[in-house]
């Protein structure tokens, strides 16, 4: 076959490929970039009186994300409430990631060590909560942790406490809820990484005088790192934008970014601020993903 026809055919194939992916591309551009553009645009407009926007350029919303002017003397100050919400969101998301990792690693390890014909069953059990509506699951958690709930009744029944412990409507409640909801997202990539891990490397480690702890830290964790990073991202990103869980378990006061954004489009009647906050959230997620790409690429060389 001559080179000319070869490259000609390649070009034709490439063109056909483009044509075939055109519908998907159009859908992506319209479906993803469109709304994004709207949000960016709205963040630079003025809020309408009751809702919506007034078509007039303004940097006010972006200013409001971080700063506020005192109502009485007009001095400039940090928007403490916003910063508190940001910080709570990041902190709770990081904690959720840490908790799901601590609980997910032994779980994933356990599943990977099962005989192959039984692993599918365990993985299915792990994913079962996914098939149930999130609201229902969250209400179930409320039933467990509320003051007259199962947990407090049991603890009081055992005489360990004499007054109910307030868990519901605290950050702890949000943490419990998010860790429960996102645990499968941590377990699955960890399982995939451990499943690929060559157990003989552990024996090699022991043989070379490493203790169990050191085998874990120096051999297992570095090698399954791509799974750790993937699981962390899969948990961290949706945690950061979580809405239902903090709304129900945190009550009205303990807001996370998702709830705060919703507030701007509802009672707050400040669509531009909501849009700007959405962009901030997106930026944080993008940064997290960039870190992931970096670390995962490094992990690839290793593997």
């Amino acid at each position: 076959m001559s080179l000319a026809t070869e490259s000609g055919r390649d070009r034709a194939r490439a063109r056909n490929g483009w044509l075939l992916s055109l519908p998907a591309l159009v859908l992506l551009i319209v479906g993803a970039s469109g709304p994004l553009l709207i949000v960016v645009t709205y963040s630079f407009l003025k809020p309408g009186e009751y809702s919506g926007v007034i078509w007039e350029f303004s940097g006010q919303a972006w200013f409001q994300v971080l700063f506020q002017r005192d109502i009485f003397d007009g001095t400039l100050g940090w928007a403490d409430a916003h910063l508190t919400i940001f910080w709570r969101s990041v902190r709770l998301s990081l904690l959720t990631t840490a908790i799901t990792f601590a609980a997910g690693l032994p779980t994933a390890w356990f599943i990977a060590m099962q005989p192959p014909d039984r692993r599918a069953m365990w993985l299915f059990l792990i994913t079962i909560p996914f098939w149930t509506n999130l609201l229902i699951r969250t209400f179930a958690i409320m039933e467990v942790i509320r003051n007259e709930g199962i947990l407090n009744s049991a603890l009081m029944g055992l005489g360990l406490i004499d007054r109910p412990v307030q868990i519901l409507y605290t950050d702890t409640a949000i943490l419990i809820g998010m860790a429960y909801v996102y645990l499968p997202l941590m377990v699955l990539p960890l399982y995939a990484a451990i499943d690929r891990f060559d157990l003989r490397l552990m024996e090699a480690g022991y043989d070379l005088y490493a203790s169990r702890m050191r085998v874990l830290r120096r051999i297992i964790l570095p090698i399954i790192r791509p799974g750790i990073v993937a699981g962390s991202i899969l948990v961290f990103v949706p945690s950061l934008g979580a809405y239902v869980t903090p709304r129900l378990l945190g009550g009205g006061k303990n807001m996370m970014i998702g709830n705060f954004i919703e507030l701007q489009f509802g009672q707050g009647r400040n669509w531009p601020l909501g849009s700007a906050l959405s962009m901030v959230l997106l930026a944080v997620v993008m940064i997290a993903l960039l870190v992931y790409v970096r670390v995962a690429a490094r992990g690839d060389v290793v593997r």
């Binding site: 003989r200 022991y206 005088y209």
Partner: protein, 366 residues
Amino acid sequence: MGQRSDGERNVSEPAAVEARDTVKTFGAGEQAVRALDRVSLTIRRGEFFTLLGPSGCGKTTLLRLIAGFESPTAGAILIGGRDVTAEPPNRRPVNTVFQSYALFPHLTVAQNVGFGLEMLGRPMAEVRATVERMLALVKLEAMAGRRPQQLSGGQQQRVALARALAPAPQVLLLDEPLSALDLKLRKEMQGELKRLQHETGITFVFVTHDQEEALTMSDRIGVMSAGRLLQVGPPREIYNRPVNRFVADFIGESNFLPGRVERGAVRLGSGDLVSVPGLPPEGTAVTIAVRPEQVRIGAAGEPGTIAATLTDAVYFGTDTHCHLALADGAEVVARLQSPPSGEIGLAPGARVGLRFAEGAVQVLGD
């Protein structure tokens, strides 16, 4: 490592490895597999000891018991005279070269080699110096910064070797380390292993199911079958004085001829008498074994020979294998050195007289 004094090796010195009535059973109840059956073994210091046997006979299991990856169902393991049966692998002064190499994929070649010393808490300077020395020993200085997956099979094998040698273990365990290599590289590495063993003076326990490898490399060989240790001895002894039919058959080729002790000799099925020293009492049924290269072919009817008929001659280059039938049809194979012409001058159907070389006939029990 080189600093271990090789000079004073005496009888009272504890054995490098000792297995005492070791039993290993996998599973329980109906499906229980007895991988090792009351194996007792003493491996001397500085020795190149080979475990040889067919697949599934328990070689790897015995090695894993010595390394500490499995614990024996019964019996004890001693290393350098110390009972280590209850010790985990990271507290035993032995290192393993794994069949799959098991190199750490996330570490460089140098980091792999230095891993053991680092875990032992040696100072960084010492680790670096030893790693350099080890890489020089296996001729991989140029590869120090590479990852294992960027190396060829033979290079990976050498890294595994250097990694296991670096902490200067009392005993090095090697589980079929050459089986993944092609023939040429395999021969090269055989020589390399012998050289390393010689230079370091470390006791090597080597597992293989390749009898030629075992014969050429070992100081002593332990032949295993179905979880039992059948015979332990130097290569010549294993080859020339096999204790039973299994060993004779597994190591090299042998002609087996059944017979009965009669008048201080063995009466074969063909009616011929073969004189062998040290026979059991009159009338006992025995089997004699003769290596093909110890069978001589002479003219038919020569006194003291066994009458046979040539059925086939197969040319192997250096050798020609002659298949012969005795009077009762029993087959004997003779291995002759091929003459310069390549023709042995005998056609199938030719009548010949066989003789067994002096001292070449073995009488086997079962």
